[in-house]
Amino acid sequence: MYASRTRQAAPEPFAVRLGIGERLGLAHMDWPLALAAVALVAFSVFTLGQATSHDVPGSPHYYLDRQAIYGLLGVVGMLALSRIDYSRFRELRVGIYTFLCASVSLVFVFGFAARGSRRSFELPFFSFQPSELGKLLLVLALAGFVIDGARRGSARQRTVRYLCLGLAPAALVFLQPDLGTSMVFVVATLAVMYFGGVPWTHFAVIGAALVTMVVLVLVAAPKLGVPVLHGYQEERLTSFLHPEEHAAGAGYQQNQSVVAIGSGQKTGRGDRATQTRLDFVPERHTDFIFAVIGERYGFMGAAFVLSLYALLLWRALRIVTLSKNSYGTLVAGGIAVSLLFQVFVNVGMNLGIMPITGIPLPLMSYGGSSVLATFLAVGVLQSINIQAQLSQRGRFAW
């Protein structure tokens, strides 16, 4: 890396004295990306403030205050991370991977059980869910392994190795049990492999295997009396296919969410919202916050939020192509795909076209771990962008 400094002939005159923006790396930030992320979390805070003012007796700003703090911490984290050259993470891949596996395993020992699953550590002000940060850590570590192992073994061996590396933490998360996050882990793994150049034929085989597995888990295993999924998980996964049958059970939440969004019509119901205000839609501050937006702010609000995500993803994909090295491409690709997956699955679930899997909506759903982890991921994207800008201009931040 430092070798490239010698390639630099002479600093351009206007860059001799670096401005403050330049020195903070702000000049090379991808501003649309940063603004989209900040706008999303701001909209989340605004929505929570309006929709959850009666949820916690005696403290109307409970969710608002906390989400605002998580958002601020997230922005700080994003800025800090964007100043670090992400390439260092490649060197730390083993440490990162070990930390990832350890943290999602420790939940089994010290974890705080909520609704029958152990996903998070209870900290004094905050319950920390390692699997949220794990999404980013997995991408960072796995991209490193892919780059590192690019010359070792046959293509098939490499594919199997990456799969094993990705699926191990995914399996741990699945056992917490947290089906949604483990699916994100799998998707992130596949994304890194995808940008790592794993041949299409391998993806075809993996795809076939996935389909077989889904059939086995959802159809064959229950018939043989060997349930792999918990009953509620299976019901959630399949009920969206025929919501009327489950109108009182698992389909109930989804049906209420669809009614909530539909009732928002073009401009929303504002404070006259009933579906998300009177508890018909559950988990309105987390998994179903998109239904709140749909009911309160109508098509205008919901489409605005979707547009922000589209902007965010466009910038992320752009960074994939801009990255100065393969590691950055793989990391950016992994982050972009896992964000896309989370947004599509969560919004799709709110709209009744995807199963309920407990995946939060990045930057919108209330929750410190998710907001922080997403901002850190955006920070890594920023770092990739900044490094690309600097290398194009033949300069380094440090």
Partner: protein, 621 residues
């Protein structure tokens, strides 16, 4: 090698392709989301808005109290008391069958119902109104309510509802007239008169509760509240509140003094029977009762098996049967006024025609005797009525046996046909005619015997196949008393609002009118007056000392399988009667023995009240 570390891969065509593919997938996924959002919010938004609004509102019906039923003086015969009903929302029962069974069993134990009965009650009510709360028991005690409140967790879905229950301050007073209420059943809901009602609503089932249901019923109110997902009301969530409109009060023609006297007269003798007192000019019924009677309040609560048996399963005493309007009896001699009317009007006899009563009338090999083997010698109509000579009327029956005159007059005066009474359940009865018996004979029924002189001879004295009741006889006597007007007997006087303002007066038009020769009328009334109050009149021993002149007739009816049935019919005052009273008592013997003294009690009460009202009015002047 497809990727080399440290490369700038942006230029790699492989990466460009893969990024482009991913970009395409992203565009497709976002397009799906946008289209779905557009579909939900813009294309079908109004439908979902309606669904959301339906979701958050619960409508509660507020039951309207039924109107009071009053006698003609405004005394309350029926009003309401509030009571607590035990209700169960079946959706909130535990889903687990064992837990559900345990709750229902525990609930049944508290409500003194078997598990089987609880389940059956639920099933029955779910059949008519699925989803509505099931009323397990009405009129539960406060101890049970407190217990359920303290142990609410054990009884999910159980609520207590305040309901109105009919109350009868005077016990069994006019029980057959006021009738009863009950939940509207599936068949009734199809009828036009119950349009707009819902299962579980209470309607009149018998008596004036049935006839005047639409005035008494009122309009239920509606409370619409906003609820959350758990069905709990939300603060400030009352959306619309439409108070119930109570039913209007119904004032009856029943005179409390007459009714009380009639009921106590019947009860004091303890014989099954009935009485009616009616205004002869307008058909207002002042008193109407049947013995044995019952306490209607018993039927407003859950009954014990013994109570059910006594009310519904006793074919002999049959307390629910109103013998005055639903009875079917021969009448004995009180029928003779109709025979006399037919004979006089038909020119068979004149008031001065003499018939010799030697104690027996022989037709072929059949002999028809006077009661008690009496013979009265040569008689005209007035003394024949006075002493109640059967032979005299046998002779008239024989003279008219093939003319149909007797049947024609009986029919005109209201025997064996609907009366127009405003109470459900009154019967037509049977007026035997030549055609009726000939038709039966052709079918081989009723001994296969065609109409004979004997049939008409029997009818002339109110015997044989005749089946009628005090109501129809009251109508016939009223028609004689008022000179040919057949009135509509009725108990409904007017509808009042709760403040006592009259909203509607019921019209009871004259049903038919025909000419009666004044001479015939006065001759018959004279005969009745002498029978009632001039020795040796058959009731002179009872009414002889009564200060008001009256025209009355005893009857002693022979019923196969029973001892003689006692009848008395009286028009008062004589010669221009205002009221008619008919009393009958099964197995009461001679008319003068039991029915006439009961009728005297009723008339005493009526005229005593008239006198006090007149003197009160006079004193006020």
């Amino acid at each position: 090698m497809y990727l080399r570390s440290g490369d700038r891969p942006g230029s790699s065509p492989r990466l460009a392709l893969r990024t482009a593919v991913l970009g395409g997938v992203a565009v497709a996924l976002f397009a799906v989301l946008f289209f779905r959002l557009w579909d939900l919010q813009v294309l079908s938004g109004s439908q979902y808005l309606a669904e959301a609004n339906n979701n958050r509102t619960r409508e509660y019906k507020v039951i309207a109290p039924r109107g009071d039923i009053l006698d003609r003086d405004g005394n309350v015969l029926v009003d309401n008391r509030t009571s607590l009903a035990l209700q169960l929302s079946t959706q909130k029962l535990p889903a687990d069958p064992a837990e559900q069974r345990a709750e229902l069993a525990a609930l049944g134990k508290l409500a003194h119902m078997s598990l089987h009965k609880v389940r059956r009650t639920i099933e029955e009510q779910e059949e008519v109104a699925a989803g509505a709360p099931v009323t397990l028991r009405k009129d539960v005690g406060y101890d049970l309510i407190y217990y359920l409140e303290e142990n609410q967790r054990q009884f999910p879905g159980v609520t207590v509802q305040r309901v109105f229950v009919r109350a009868y301050p005077d016990g069994s007073r006019a029980a057959h007239v006021v009738g009863s209420v009950g939940e509207v059943d599936g068949e009734e809901l199809k009828e036009a008169r119950y349009k707009g009602l819902e299962p579980g609503d209470e309607v009149g089932k018998e008596g004036v509760e049935y006839t005047y249901d639409r005035y008494l019923r009122g309009e239920p109110g509606l409370t619409k509240i906003q609820v959350n997902a758990l069905g709990q009301p939300t603060p400030g969530g009352q959306l619309v509140s439409q108070p119930p409109t109570p039913g209007d009060n119904l004032k009856l023609t029943i005179d409390p003094a007459v009714q009380a006297a009639g009921e106590s007269a019947m009860a004091s003798r303890g014989l099954p029977g009935g009485f009616i007192t009616m205004n002869v000019d307008n058909g207002e019924i002042l008193g109407l009762g049947s013995f044995p009677t019952f306490d209607p309040a018993v039927r407003a609560r859950p009954m014990t098996q013994a109570q059910v048996n006594a009310l519904y399963r006793d074919p002999v005493l049959a307390p629910l049967t109103d013998r005055a309007t639903e009875g079917l009896y021969p009448t004995g001699s009180i029928f003779k006024i109709i025979t006399a009317m037919a004979a006089l009007e038909g020119g068979v006899i004149t008031p001065s025609t003499t018939i010799v009563d030697n104690g027996e009338l022989r037709v072929g090999d059949q002999g028809f005797h006077n009661a008690g083997e009496a013979s009265y010698g040569a008689l005209t109509l007035v003394p024949a009525l006075q002493v109640s000579s059967d032979v005299f009327f046998y002779d008239l029956g024989l003279k008219m046996w093939n003319t149909g005159q007797l049947q024609q007059w009986a029919h005109k005066m209201g025997i064996g046909r609907p009366t127009g009474l405003d109470l459900p359940g009154s019967v037509e009865g049977l007026l035997p005619t030549k055609k009726w018996r000939d038709d039966l004979a052709a079918e081989g029924l009723a001994e296969g015997r065609p109409w004979s002189a004997g049939d008409n001879i029997q009818l002339a004295t109110g015997q044989g196949d005749l089946q009628t009741n005090p109501l129809q006889m009251a109508l016939a006597y009223a028609t004689l008393g008022n000179g040919g007007k057949v009135v509509t007997p009725h108990v409904g006087l007017e509808v009042e609002d709760p403040a006592g303002r009259v909203l509607k007066e019921f019209q009871a038009p004259i049903r038919r009118e025909f000419h009666i020769d004044p001479g015939s009328r006065s001759t018959i009334l004279e005969g009745l007056h002498e029978a009632a109050q001039v020795a040796p009149g058959t009731a002179a021993g009872v009414f002889g000392g009564f200060p008001i002149p009256v025209a009355g007739k005893t009857g002693t009816a022979e019923r196969p399988g029973h001892a003689d049935q006692s009848w008395f019919a009286v028009l008062a005052p004589y010669p221009d009667p205002r009221i008619v009273t008919i009393v009958t008592m099964e197995e009461g013997g001679f008319g003068a023995e039991s029915a006439a003294p009961a009728a005297l009690q009723i008339l005493e009460a009526y005229f005593h009240k008239q006198a006090t009202e007149v003197s009160a009015a006079g004193g006020a002047e």
